[in-house]
């Protein structure tokens, strides 16, 4: 029981990060109908921004402000930087190709991904950085759930992810801007005719998706410790998988997909072998694309004949 509980917490933590990343993929696909493969690099820049804020504030061993304030500033800093990177991507890599064939922005996204990786390598060097979170928040500080102790940082990650997802869901359903996003994702032309500023909606979508990715970056830095220039690549692929499994274009689907992928990884490692981790995750991607391409909660695409 203890083993299952521990692995469930592990899966929930990882799944929360994937869910935040997958949201960005889903939001952009929902609005623009294309996959932003550079999204993983947006998350990577967020992680480095969080690290930078932590360093400016004195680092884990010499923090100049209370821990809660440092964490808040790290999240805010990451969101700002990631949003900036996301907006720059939209403006320079995707907007000029909006009326091009569907392949063009996809290729641009892949190129942008490599560009950002190389930029990060030049800016931050190949050396990984560590948040050294156990010094910031000792491992002994945590929540006792039955026989296991859950580190406070994991609790923070899970709670933050849940809060952000709830806020996003509320915003999309209830706010005027959220309705505009839903309208554009349903039918761009009709939304434009109804007076929705489509360009603005796209910008807001990138802003929010990228900000969530930035939060994910800081979470990874806190829980798993190591950030490096290449970290966005695999994380981006898994988040993409999560978005597809949950239903690309669906916000609840992205959340569900992220959690499912997180659990799949944890339980595969726990009950089969860590060697099969990526095999299972990407196997799920292939399976869903073959059997149910719209994912769990996605809408099948209707084409007028």
């Amino acid at each position: 029981m203890e083993f299952l509980l521990q692995q469930t917490v592990n899966g929930l933590t990882l799944g929360s990060v994937y869910a935040l990343l997958a949201l960005g993929y889903s939001m952009v696909y929902g609005v623009l109908k294309f996959l932003n493969f550079a999204h993983g690099e947006v998350y990577m820049f967020g992680a480095f921004a969080g690290y930078g804020v932590l360093t400016v504030l004195g680092g884990p061993t010499g923090l100049l402000v209370p821990v809660w304030l440092a964490l808040t500033l790290m999240f805010v800093g990451a969101m700002v930087v990631s949003s900036g990177v996301g907006l720059a991507l939209e403006r320079f890599a995707y907007r000029p190709l909006r009326s091009a064939s569907r392949l063009a922005p996809l290729i641009s996204a892949i190129g942008a991904s490599f560009f950002l990786q190389a930029a990060a390598l030049l800016l931050f060097s190949a050396n990984s950085r560590s948040y050294d979170a156990p010094t910031l928040i000792p491992i002994a500080n945590g929540l006792t759930i039955g026989p296991i102790n859950v580190w406070a940082v994991r609790v923070l990650v899970i709670v933050t992810a849940v809060v952000l997802m709830v806020l996003l869901t509320w915003w999309v359903r209830s706010s005027r801007a959220g309705k505009a996003v839903r309208a554009v994702s349903f039918d761009t032309e009709a939304a434009a005719m109804m007076g929705v500023d489509v360009d603005r909606v796209i910008v807001v979508t990138f802003l929010i998706g990228s900000a969530l990715a930035g939060v994910g970056g800081v979470m990874v830095g806190l829980v798993f410790g190591r950030i490096f220039h290449f970290m966005g690549f695999i994380a981006g692929l898994k988040a993409f998988t999560a978005a597809v499994v949950g239903g690309i274009g669906s916000i609840p689907g992205a959340m569900l997909g992220g959690l499912l992928i997180g659990f799949a990884e944890a339980y595969t490692t726990a009950y089969i072998s860590s060697t099969f981790q990526n095999l299972i995750v990407f196997g799920l991607l292939i399976a869903f694309l073959l059997i149910r391409p719209s994912g769990f909660l996605g809408r099948p695409e209707l084409v007028k004949v």
């Binding site: 921004a49 400016v56 930087v81 390598l121 060097s125 190949a126 050396n127 190591r226 690549f233």
Partner: protein, 391 residues
């Protein structure tokens, strides 16, 4: 504040030198500062001694942290050599990106460059294998010295291949014997799916099982940064967790997550974990040299390096050793009044007989190209992060 944060996060390295890059191969002129009266060359023949040395490594890509250190140490060795000797040796960079196909392509490019008299690298055994096949087929006289490939038997396959690190045949048994001496009954081994790691894990596992130690074997990619699920599978009666990993920072994450889940097994890391990124108190690491900061003749070299470059790792000093072997071989050819070519340089490399080196041990090669006196040391990490030699 955000701009400041990104700048602080950057603190990029400046490797210096003027570079031009064509299709993955970069030519750089060594930074030479020769002052009349301070050079140690003798004779007109030595002053005319010219050479180009290739350096192959993963300078970009997912293990760029290894390649960057290796490139920095090579540049440092080259600059220092040129300054000491009044030479103007040149270098050609070949970025393998830790990719086998890329390594083979770059090997051909280096082979086709008639000025290249020797090569330092590649880093990984798979890349050495790929490049080695090209070099062997094209010109077995070209000397290739890998500063980090430890796969047993690889030098025997290629005429011109040497290395300045001991092999898995040395590290695996040394590691296993130590664990057995410590009373290990159960060991959990996790490889990181690199050729370095799997080879070492295999050798260590074989030796442990021969000694009737129960071994559990797992495998995880270097890209993974969450090991919590894997940590959860470590049996409570495990004595040692052996991590033959190249990424020391991942080892620290693993250690943190073990502590998080109350796992009490002691971590034993391979030489790839010998880095400031892994500081888990009580853990052991293997290293192919004593801490060079504690070697009298190497301290000044290390200090000189750190004045120019931000940090180093275990992957650095063997590059210096490999570079110096080639440089000194070329110099001996020149001193003998000959024009250095690949054949006579390799002959001199085989004659290498350094009584001491940056690694604190002599350097000479077996017929196959391995170190005659390769040995591994075991250190234990203390609370303050320092290392104490235990074997």
């Amino acid at each position: 504040m955000l701009a400041l944060a990104l700048v602080v996060a950057a603190c990029g390295d400046d490797t210096g030198g003027d570079t031009t890059t064509t299709a993955g191969v970069t030519t750089t002129e060594g930074e030479t500062d020769t002052t009349a009266g301070e050079t140690t060359t003798t004779g007109a023949e030595a002053m005319a001694c010219e050479a180009t040395i290739g350096v192959m490594g993963p300078f970009t890509g997912e293990v760029a942290f290894i390649g960057e250190v290796q490139l920095n140490w090579f540049n440092y060795a080259l600059d220092t050599w040129n300054e000491e000797m009044g030479y103007d040796f040149q270098m050609v960079e070949a970025d393998t990106q830790f990719d086998v196909a890329q390594s083979a392509t770059l090997a051909q490019q280096l082979l086709d460059n008639p000025d290249v008299l020797g090569v330092v690298g590649p880093a990984g055994s798979d890349q050495v294998d790929a490049a080695g096949a090209v070099f062997e087929a094209g010109d077995p006289d070209l000397t290739v010295i890998s500063p980090s490939s430890t796969r047993s038997g690889i030098t025997a396959q290629y005429t011109g291949l040497f290395r300045t690190v001991p092999t898995d045949d040395d590290q695996g048994p040394t590691t296993a014997d130590f664990m057995v001496e410590q009373g290990a009954q159960s060991v959990f081994i996790v490889d990181d799916q690199s050729s370095y790691s799997t080879g070492l894990a295999d050798t260590t596992q074989d030796n442990l099982e021969t000694a009737d130690v129960t071994v559990t074997r797992e495998s995880v990619s270097q890209d993974v940064t969450d090991f919590s699920a894997l940590v959860g599978t470590i049996p409570d009666d495990t004595d040692f967790v052996y991590l033959p990993w190249q990424v020391a920072a991942n080892g620290q994450i693993f250690a943190n997550q073990m502590a998080e889940q109350g796992k009490e097994a002691v971590i034993f890391g391979s030489d790839g974990m010998d880095s400031d990124d892994f500081t888990q108190a009580g853990s052991y690491i293997a290293a192919f040299a004593p801490d060079i900061a504690a070697i009298e003749g190497s301290v000044s070299i290390l200090e000189g390096y750190l004045e120019q470059y931000e940090n180093t790792s275990t992957f650095g000093p063997p590059v210096w050793a490999a570079a110096r072997v080639i440089f000194e071989a070329i110099d001996r050819v020149c001193q003998a009044g000959e024009t250095p070519d690949r054949a006579n340089v390799q002959a001199e490399v085989r004659n290498t007989d350094q009584t001491t080196s940056i690694l604190g041990s002599p350097i000479s090669f077996t017929e196959d190209g391995d170190l005659v006196e390769g040995t591994f040391f075991i250190f234990q990490i203390q609370e303050d992060g320092s290392k104490t030699l235990v074997q």
